[in-house]
Amino acid sequence: MSKKYEFIEHTADLGLKAYGASIEELFVNAAEGFFDVIVSPKSVEEREERVIEVEAEALDELMVSWLSELLYIHDTEKLVFKCFEVKRLKGNQVEAIARGELLDPARHEIKTGIKAVTYHQLYVEESEGGWETQVIFDI
């Protein structure tokens, strides 16, 4: 699949459409797109990693929980991530590794701060070509 993700815009908010050949790839691409909103991925190096485990009631809600968990780590530990590896994704649970580094204002220019990942117009769908999701952020 050529396109990993694209931004969708509304006047006050910003969203993301992500694609993947598999559900695992979808979660990886959505996370990459999510951090591309915050900081330019080219400026981020892989120096730290975090293991992430989240679960939810439904697959679409799992997407929100996954990105919210990354946002929580970003907000509390001041980490920015660029590389993700989904180890397991089953029964609305995801286990993954995120790699990145500590936020360094000298090297990382913050593009847009994200306050939250919303459930508004949220979907995670499988189609003929693979998987697709849409998530809207509060910024």
Binding site: H10, T11, A12, G113, L122
Partner: protein, 482 residues
């Protein structure tokens, strides 16, 4: 996506959305012809109709002229729900719980300090943490102290020497929403909030030094101790990561509650719980804590604004006379008693991107504002102006005592960045006499004046519709952005 929803023009400033489908009540939008054309460009009218579908809604689903598309509830929306058969919805308050504005007046004249604005802005930028990840190194709270912040709000800051008792009298709810129980605030929310108390944050938050440019109503201005040429300071920020996490936690909890209580949701982001349920009691308690965090945040920032001005202008507190005019919330749900068809009813009023605007003689006002009504603070974009209004009887009667909250964006952030690319925005503003300092170049580009509606258009509509009364217009001289 443009909307084809049916609207009926009631008068020059009021538009009705007739009851259709699952709507339990009508929608009412405050706008003129021109604004209505802008509003129709996004799906916000459908959101007004969606809110009208929620159980126990009392009166109409209301929209202010600065309405724009939000997630679930529109931004610029007001809706009241019956305490017995109505609901509360975290999405109807928003992620930035008690995002709000406060205005300080001074004893200074704009002419006296104009030359010192660059120095003042640089000092404010240094002393008030702005942007992602910055904080004051000298403010470290224990878990116990954080509990006090969540329960007492601005009162905690005052008890620690940040400001005075007079400040508290000039804040909506005296800077503390009752019923906050820190037990209902998750550890995650506390962790996110820990380093963010006393910080401005990013996006549209700001501290602005300006002056009274125009007085529309001499008597009302005098009652608010405002006069032409007087230096003022506006502070706009909210509950930071703590509030965002409280909203996030309770949206998750209330998604489950909506299923449990069999509430039909047109959009997951509208999830809610009956006001009579324990889920809603817990949310309202956590929301009060987050609101109190925000009141405390603005109080701390005010203290540092006062310190900075004293320092840079080499003037004592008395010479500066930086007194709080008022502090208002614009993302909140409040339990209030309103007169509905001749009967006093206890309601849960959601204001998401809307401001309380209580009329003269309201028991909720400080004594010196009893005759004039509640000050309403409406910030505009950083290049134009902001307004001070007062609340009215019409607002109390028609909108549960609510009015607009700001300009509202017309351009998305990326669109604004494109328009701003290659331009020296800071320089352009300097040429207009406005000195701006921001944490990120991106923020200043996203916040260019033309990315917003002209707040004058918004304010003129609420003024002419009678749900707010113009008092003065403020002009910025120096701005710090997150």
């Amino acid at each position: 996506m443009p909307t084809d929803i049916e609207v009926k023009k009631l008068d020059d400033f009021r538009w009705l959305l007739p009851k259709k489908g699952k709507m339990r009540t009508e929608g009412l939008v405050y706008a003129d012809e021109r604004m209505m054309a802008v509003i129709r460009k996004d799906a916000s009218l459908e959101q007004v109709a969606n809110v009208a579908c929620l159980p126990g809604i009392v009166g109409r689903s209301l929209a202010m002229p600065d309405i724009h598309w939000g997630y679930g509830f529109p931004i610029g929306g007001v809706a009241a729900f019956d305490m017995e058969d109505g609901i509360v919805s975290p999405g109807g308050v928003g992620y930035d719980i008690n995002c709000g504005v406060r205005l300080l007046r001074s004893g200074l004249d704009a002419g006296e300090i104009r030359d010192q604005i660059p120095a003042l802005v640089e000092a404010l930028f240094k002393n008030i943490p702005s942007g992602v990840g910055s904080r004051r190194k000298d403010l470290r709270l224990s878990a116990h102290e954080m509990d006090s912040v969540l329960v007492k709000g601005a009162g905690w800051a005052v008890s620690q020497g940040y400001g005075s008792k007079e400040d508290l009298e000039h804040i909506e709810e005296q800077g503390c929403i009752a019923g906050g129980n820190p037990e209902y605030v998750s550890q995650r929310a506390r962790t996110r909030g820990k380093d963010q108390l006393g910080t401005l944050g990013s996006g549209n938050h700001f501290v602005e030094v300006g002056y009274v440019e125009t007085v529309y109503d001499e008597a009302a201005a005098e009652a608010l101790s405002l006069h032409e040429g007087q230096v003022t300071v506006l502070v706009h920020t909210g509950s930071r990561g703590l509030g965002h996490q409280v909203c996030d936690d309770y949206i998750k909890a209330l998604l489950k509650a909506s299923a449990k209580y069999k509430i039909d949701l047109p959009d997951k982001q509208l999830c809610c719980a009956p006001l009579a349920s324990k889920e809603s009691r817990h949310y309202l308690s956590a929301m009060a804590c987050a609101a109190n965090f925000a009141f405390c945040n603005r109080q701390l920032i005010t203290h540092w604004v006062r310190e900075t001005l004293q320092d840079v202008l080499q003037t004592g507190p008395r010479g500066l006379g930086l007194q709080l005019v008022y502090d208002i919330c614009h993302n909140i749900a409040k339990v209030e008693t309103h007169n509905v068809e001749g009967k006093a009813r206890k309601l849960c009023v959601h204001r998401k991107g809307a401001t309380r605007a209580f009329p003269p003689h309201s028991p909720f006002l400080p004594d010196e504002y009893k005759e004039v009504g509640q000050p309403v603070l409406i910030p505009g974009d950083m290049g134009r102006y902001s307004y001070v209004l007062v609340g009215t009887e019409t607002a109390l009667r028609e909108t549960f005592g609510s009015t607009c909250h700001g300009a509202g964006r017309v351009m998305s952030r990326r669109q604004a960045q494109k328009v701003a690319r290659g331009r020296a925005i800071v320089r352009e503003l300097e040429d207009k006499g406005i000195y701006v300092r921001g944490a990120g170049k991106g923020t200043i580009m996203e916040e260019i004046p033309e990315a917003y509606k002209d707040v004058a258009d918004v304010v003129n509509i609420v003024h002419q519709a009678g749900i707010g009364k113009k008092v003065v217009r403020l002009r910025p001289m120096g701005v710090i952005k997150g």
